[in-house]
Symmetry: C2
Subunit: 199 residues, 2 copies
């Protein structure tokens, strides 16, 4: 006999980040007591999302279509390519700055100990784009963490090898901080005062 449905629900909610037993229980009760309609909508949207959302063939961001809206947008500047670690970082830059170029989403950062190397980050694909001559500046917007800096160093080398000018967001990001959580003003300033990467 399977566990009661309520226990199954509490257990299933724990898949959410930062949600332990106690919080999952509170969420389940809340949905059943006060938000059945919202719960139903969440169930339907979630089922559809995990089924239909894949990755953009060009920038690797999440997308329902082969190309995401940004890559499909003919009016975005193709000479600037901004590399970010995650879709959340891309969204943060898009919301905080007036950037009109395009993106490349690594979906991670170099971390040899975790088995994450250039292949896992799609860097072959990135090199191809750098080789297409359109790109003049590679804006490296990885996190100000040790792994983020190592990734940035690697990306700058890739760019130089293709005669593309690498740049890095200005100092101002809090050290050790995740880019996604930086406040809008700081992020916008750092983006605007990015500097060319030199050896």
């Amino acid at each position: 006999m399977s566990a009661p449905l309520l226990e199954q629900l509490i257990d299933a909610l724990r898949v959410l980040p930062g949600v332990g037993q106690k919080t999952a229980q509170r969420m389940a009760y809340h949905l059943l007591e006060r938000e059945r309609e919202g719960g139903k909508r969440l169930a339907g949207t979630l089922a559809e999302a995990v089924e239909r959302i894949g990755h953009c063939a060009q920038c690797r961001d999440f997308s329902e279509t082969e190309l995401c809206p940004t890559c499909a947008n003919g009016s975005r500047e193709r000479s600037q390519l901004c590399v970010v670690e995650s879709p959340a970082d891309r969204l943060a830059i898009e919301n905080a700055t007036g950037y009109r170029g395009v993106y490349f989403v690594l979906q991670g950062r170099l971390s040899p100990l975790d088995g994450i190397g250039p292949r896992e980050l799609g860097l072959e694909q990135l090199e191809q784009r750098l080789a297409e001559a359109e790109v003049q500046e590679l804006i490296i917007a990885t996190s100000a963490t040790v792994e983020g800096e190592a990734t940035a160093h690697y990306l700058a080398q890739l760019a130089r090898a293709r005669q593309v000018r690498p740049s890095r967001l200005a100092q101002g990001l809090p050290l050790g901080g995740e880019l996604e959580y930086v406040d809008r003003g700081t992020l916008s300033h750092a983006f605007g005062t990015r500097s060319e990467v030199r050896d």
Copy 2:
């Protein structure tokens, strides 16, 4: 044209208690990046739960069946009836104490300003059970909040009118605290040293 599926998902996740825009976004990305299987399972379980989980006909707790497992259990003591505000409170008592009686779940507490009166808490149904002569003790386990105390007072009067002895969990609950969040030891002690309610 409807919003992108990812935005719909982030929006739908905000139905969860304590989840704002930023957390919802983090949850959506986490599910899509690392937990698609778990997300699929959550969607299925949630859809089934909001559809199939109703209320026990006897105690008003959540139940998939007409009677919940506790009410359907012939070996539970019918002479003791414990009244709680919520399913979470019922579960907390069940897990922290050795209580072998049955329950009644108010699904709220008296709050005239919010339009929550005796009818909304199913108190007619409770009175019927008190009239059935089996019940000898009504254990009132409402919260140590102003509204919880007012509810307790009301319940004690109901019990006395039916020659049922009302009791209240012992002092020891932190004042103003929600019963659900009391630590196990305090709750168990307070439950064990409950005292009869006098005028």
